[in-house]
Symmetry: C2
Subunit: 346 residues, 2 copies
């Protein structure tokens, strides 16, 4: 974890326990995908290379550590690794696999060619194996989730997946709908991004044996953090470079996807500028200097700053949810993870 | 059910109970898909029109009726509707929804424009909503399955879905692989079609409280019937018409999909004919009279008859699995359903 973000010394015990647990998550993930069919195994091993920050398993494990009934005692006197049980590890593998499935299908939607600095499945093999590979990952995730000893896990993962898809369908429905307002934008991102980070945190806490209040707080923390994460993703697509971000950028404007900076820009630009921006957005050809002009115009209405500040405000709110938890390095780590959402440039 | 196939009088009590249960399956199906998001609801209601024979729910309910510990007694003296419990109904809705999801994704793979005499989602709205709508249906199916009181249901549905996808991935891998042999063909169809009919029958029996032996027999019946069903589908794609079948036909040859008649033809044709057939299959353009010539050649090597006889043999084997069950109208109906697989022209 230290490679990915800066961890203060007092949080190191929690970060080390998460790091050790992630190795177990990776083993569980790989074992669930094992198959005798070589063509299937080859596709899966390609997708395993998509694995990057492992944000969702990190959230699941850290949530479990922070809400475990023995957290305070163990962090004060014992070995935090002992707080990690196999249910927490399985939850981490499940949420990562659901996420991976959505990446494979999103790349088809986005017609993306690059993911984690490698070719996407759709680019390499066409849309058809990408559709079925995503389905295979979802099926494997549900099967793995069903091995957990309580159907509450499967119910929560099934429900979250429904909400993720509903968010994506709403987004597709409102593509090139330049009248989309912030409320509906939030309805979309709360689904497509927030629902899965929420369930990662909530089920990590459930696996640790947390009580109802702690579980609810973690669900809210995960939901709010996920929303902030999506806004940061919007910003990176608009202002980042493929080299830094590690995946195709500039796709949102190209695909007519409404992002928070664009929504703010269209709401606040003067009539002339708004007409110019809409003309470019409606244009059949999106080439030439128009795109650079639009980016500059979005900057000019302060819309990048507005989106950035919104994300920071959500991060602060997410951290506030953690106040109900005992003060442990794991709680500190969850706070640091929230801060990292708006710090990241990748 | 009487509209779909010819039911002898002595099986009528079982057919009536299945018909009544199907109405409950439809309500459960619709309730699970209810959503406040209008664009999502609109897409779902389009897909509900795909519903045709409801073969998988019929299999689930009939399997439950035939394996219920009280089946003999109730069919002799009571009201068969009483044998249908809510778990059987839920199983029926789950397997139908998983099936519907695979139809939506298959239509993307097949670039099909017509399904059940209506436009496909991909034809109407593009591939992107079709990908996510399929995912939404899968998520809803898993959520519904997780409401059942035993995680054995979710484990079985998760595993069957994995096997279905693995079969589809194998099929894509072997597309235009004219060396594919019958063993590998069966590995593909046992996954992509047989796995879901097997789990429909097995879980219908589980929901009815059947013992291990009856459950295993029903799983085998469903698997074998599903394999026969797929071979019949291959035959209809080759020899049927869109008007009768109600969906796009002739897609298999066009997409380089190896079917049993084609595999048999390539194995048994003389060298000259084989070279001519391969030349057409390898040709960049699949237009002209070549396709009609190939169809005639496949007929000429007796490959249509061979595939038909293979399907009939599988149907006989499927019916043999039912011998362990008590002699009830429900068992008779399962036998009749197996016969109908090779009788059907749609």
């Amino acid at each position: 974890m230290r490679g990915v973000m800066d961890i203060p010394d007092e949080l190191a015990p929690a970060a080390a326990a998460v790091g050790n647990a992630l190795e177990r998550v990776e083993s569980t993930f790989a074992a669930a995908l094992e198959t005798d069919h070589k063509p299937v195994a080859d596709l899966c091993s390609h997708v395993e290379r998509y694995r990057g920050k492992m944000l969702r398993p990190v959230l699941a494990i850290a949530s479990g550590l922070a809400t475990h009934p023995n957290a305070e005692l163990v962090f004060a006197t014992g070995e935090p690794d002992a707080l990690v049980n196999s249910e927490m590890v399985t939850v981490g593998a499940v949420v990562e696999m659901v996420h991976m499935a959505t990446l494979v299908h999103d790349d088809i939607l986005d017609e993306a060619d690059v993911r984690r600095r490698g070719a996407t499945v759709n680019n390499l093999h066409g849309n058809e194996p990408a559709v079925i590979l995503g389905d295979y990952l979802i099926a494997t995730a549900y099967h793995l989730c069903s091995t957990l000893p309580d159907r509450a896990y499967s119910l929560a993962v099934g429900r979250a997946s429904q909400v993720v898809c509903a968010g994506e369908l709403l987004q597709l429905h409102h593509r090139e709908d330049w009248t989309l307002d912030e409320d509906r934008y939030f309805a979309i991102i709360e689904g497509k991004t927030g629902a899965l980070t929420a369930v990662a945190c909530e089920l990590g806490a459930r696996a640790a044996g947390a009580g109802d209040d702690a579980r609810a707080a973690l669900a809210q923390y995960g939901q709010t953090l996920g929303n902030a994460f999506q806004i940061q993703d919007d910003l990176l697509d608009l202002a980042g470079t493929e080299e830094r971000v590690g995946k195709s950028v500039g796709k949102d404007l190209e695909k007519g996807k409404l992002t928070l900076p664009l929504i703010h820009h269209l709401r606040t630009a003067n009539a002339d500028q708004r007409a110019r921006s809409l003309a470019w957005l409606d244009g059949a050809s999106h080439g030439g200097d128009g795109e650079a002009d639009l980016r500059a115009a979005i900057q000019g209405t302060g819309s990048i700053d507005y989106a950035r500040e919104t994300a920071v405000r959500l991060v602060t709110r997410a951290k506030g949810e953690l106040d109900v938890l005992p003060n442990t390095p794991a709680r500190g780590l969850l706070g640091r993870l929230a801060d990292a959402v708006t710090d990241r440039a990748y």
